[in-house]
């Protein structure tokens, strides 16, 4: 494949990700889902951006892991935060379904330093 073709595919993929979540869902790739839902605007796996890293979130909740925790964090993703990490609340994400948020939460809680 030529570099031009590769670039074209990457660009087209970028547009698909940005424009249409449903196309990403079929890939069953939670990282891609996080990107499609723009989570990477504020979060990364290991580094703090506008919000805490996924590794930091997992560490904060390493003691208490339960279905209830997954549910609470999932609902926070959708409805927005209340300053658990300081005085910058997380934005509401109406474009994320609760099922998607649960999938994201489980994936985030599995992050460890170096993975």
């Amino acid at each position: 494949m030529s570099s031009g073709s590769t670039l074209k595919l990457l660009l087209l993929a970028g547009i698909t990700v940005a424009a249409g979540a449903s196309r990403v869902m079929a890939a069953d790739d939670t990282e891609a889902l996080l990107t499609a839902r723009k989570c990477h605007a504020c979060h990364a796996v290991s580094e703090n951006r506008l919000g805490p890293s996924y590794v930091a979130i997992a560490a904060k909740h390493s003691v208490m892991r339960s279905d209830a925790l997954v549910e609470v964090l999932s609902r926070k993703i959708v409805a927005g935060g209340g300053g658990a990490w300081g005085n910058v609340p997380m934005v509401p994400n109406d474009h994320v379904s609760l099922d998607e948020a649960r999938r994201m939460t489980r994936w985030i809680l599995e992050r460890r330093p170096g993975n």
Binding site: L7, A19, N87
Partner: protein, 601 residues
């Protein structure tokens, strides 16, 4: 002037009637005539109340009409294929809350039904959910209004419902409220910059990732964050005291038809063209033009033929053709409407770089107007230039716009461009540095330059009359400049009815001899009559009615526009609209009058 507009109605109406008859036969529903009134709790009729018919009519997703002076309304035509019991309305009037709907169904004696829906409206000081986003900015200084509009409203309304929800989250935090706002809002500006950068990266393989800290905040995240912290204070679920600022330009004959395009999409601009006329909408998030059958609402995609990912951005009607400019990689496409065939051009600067085409030269009919040699001119938003290409020969060239001292061209954002009647002068605007000026296509020299004192004035997309009067909307300042291009002098600067309305564009209406001003932040279109200097307001029936361009369909006089929120995570509507202002002396009925329920649902 009276125009025969049955050109538009005949074929779609016939098709709709056939579908309606079939649907009625299959479902056993009578045809339903809908009428009613809007009353306050004391039984007083309320004029100029928006009545939106819900939901699922084939063709437009929603039809909105208005009550007349007597408080009554009548839906034009009938509804087929839907049980009367399943038809409902939403009523909206500034200062009121729609609290109940009284229903009455009677047989008309011919096998059909009359459904009377009376909206009961309660006075309410809280205008949240009814007033536009600009209502929340009404108490700001003009300087703050302009800064907020220029920094944020280029992509979405401010404050959009999502913004107000976030303001509530901040307000609910414990601790020092001012410190919380000062911490949170700059972060959100950075967040929005990132989203904007993604949107703006589409279609440009050579610049796939604009600097996230510069898009729309212009590298001023802290400044704009501080501005939001200062202006969006407290919980934002109550706003009062807003009025439209001018009389409403609606009556019992006004009809607004909204055509929703299935998501995902980022509908940008829409025009109506062809025989019978169809809507054509640019989807900047994909590589397609969406064509909408106005009778059925059925859409057909026209893929733009290019190896580049692009995102069609600007639509300019031409002679039986739709001209499309990409976002912003110098790619121009022309769709021949009768045949559906494309022609394309890749435009370059004189030095071989990519042109960044924003607008092509409009004439007074809001159609493409080439110069006296057949060259099409464009505004180059990337290179702060004007340029041309000759579609016949392929010749092209660009002319960098001279710098203004103290206002760097790198932030100029060349936007609108129009052609004078002699086809020898073009006028352009520079959104980012508050300037507009002219260029002579014969001498190839820049001529007049007007520099506005207010750097945040925001001259955006232009219109010109048959007499070469230029109209300039000031997006940030909320004003309208009338300018005599022959005498090269400003005739007047008019304050719009709402200074925070963010007038995105102006369109000259050669049929009515008025100026239409679509706004991005006021859920409204303004009408300006140069003869009387009066403004009036055409309110739109939807929160987040973020408008861009507006076309006056030359054969019918109908207004065509679109809701075009850019950022995907701001969930504004994505629709194309056809509006009959209801001026019956100008316009006769043109749209199908028999509305068919979709799949009988």
């Amino acid at each position: 002037m009276r125009i025969n507009r049955y050109l538009l109605s005949s074929l779609p109406a016939t098709a709709a009637a056939l579908v309606a008859a079939l649907a009625a036969a299959q479902n056993g529903f009578a045809e339903v005539m809908v009428d009613g009134a809007a009353l306050d709790l004391g039984g007083t009729p309320l004029a100029a109340t928006q009545i939106s018919l819900q939901p699922g009519i084939a063709g437009p997703s929603t039809i909105t009409i208005f009550t007349g002076d007597d408080g009554h309304y009548l839906l034009p035509g009938t509804i087929a294929g839907r049980a009367a019991a399943d038809i409902n309305i939403r009523a909206v009037k500034l200062g009121y809350e729609h609290v109940d709907t009284l229903r009455s169904i009677t047989d008309t004696g011919d096998g059909n039904q009359r459904l009377t829906l009376t909206a009961v409206m309660r006075r309410s000081a809280n205008q949240a959910g009814v007033a536009p986003a600009s209502a929340w900015l009404k108490d700001l200084s003009l300087a703050d209004q302009a800064q907020v509009v220029m920094a944020c409203v280029g992509c979405h309304q401010l404050p959009a419902p999502e913004v107000r929800r976030y303001a509530n989250l901040i307000a609910d935090l414990p601790g020092d409220a001012a410190a919380n706002r000062a911490a949170a809002w700059p972060m959100i500006v950075n967040y929005m910059n990132f989203l904007s950068a993604e949107e703006f990266s589409r279609g440009n393989p050579h610049n796939p990732s604009p600097e996230p800290d510069r898009v729309y905040s212009g590298g001023q995240a802290e400044v704009n964050g501080a501005l939001l912290a200062r202006t969006l204070t407290g919980r934002m679920d109550y706003v009062a005291g807003y009025d439209y600022g001018a009389p409403l330009a609606v009556n019992e004959h006004t009809v607004i038809r909204e055509f929703e395009v299935a998501r995902p999409n980022a509908i940008r601009e829409a025009v109506m063209m062809g025989t019978p006329p169809r809507l054509w909408a640019a989807d900047v998030s994909s590589n397609r033009i969406v064509s909408i059958d106005v009778a059925t609402g059925v859409t057909t995609d026209f893929e733009v033929p290019t190896e580049l990912a692009m995102g069609p951005h600007t639509l300019v009607p031409g002679e039986n053709a739709l001209w499309v400019a990409a976002f912003f990689n110098g790619y121009i496409a022309r769709l021949d409407i009768p045949t559906g065939k494309w022609q394309t051009w890749q435009l370059h600067t004189n030095s071989g770089g990519e042109a960044g085409v924003h607008d092509l030269t409009f004439g007074p009919e809001h159609q493409l107007l080439a110069d006296y040699r057949g060259r099409i001119w464009y505004s180059d938003i990337v290179n702060n230039a004007v340029g041309f290409f000759d579609p016949a020969s392929g010749e092209m060239g660009t002319y960098p716009i001279p710098e203004i001292e103290g206002r760097p061209g790198s932030g100029a954002s060349v936007y609108g461009i129009v052609m004078t009647s002699d086809r020898k002068h073009i006028w352009f605007s520079q959104l980012g540095i508050a300037s507009f000026g002219s260029f002579n296509t014969e001498t190839l020299k820049f001529e007049q330059r007007e520099v506005l004192d207010n750097l945040k004035a925001g001259p955006r997309r232009l219109a010109i009359t048959e007499d070469d009067i230029l109209y300039v909307p000031l997006y940030g300042a909320g004003q309208l400049i009338a300018y005599d291009t022959k005498a090269r002098r400003t005739i007047a600067v008019h304050d719009l009815p709402d200074r925070a309305s963010a007038p995105y564009a102006v369109t000259w209406d050669p049929l009515r001899k008025v100026v239409w001003i679509p706004t991005s932040n006021a859920n409204a279109i303004y009408r300006f009559d140069p003869a009387t200097k009066d403004f009036s307001v055409l309110p739109l029936p939807r929160e987040g009615a973020f408008l861009r361009m507006l076309q006056v369909h030359p054969q019918t006089g109908l207004l065509v526009t679109s809701y075009a929120n850019i950022v995907e995570t701001v969930h504004g509507p994505r629709m194309a609209l056809i509006i009959d202002p209801g001026d019956q002396d100008v316009l006769a009925g043109t749209m199908p009058t028999r509305h068919t329920a979709i799949n009988g649902n």
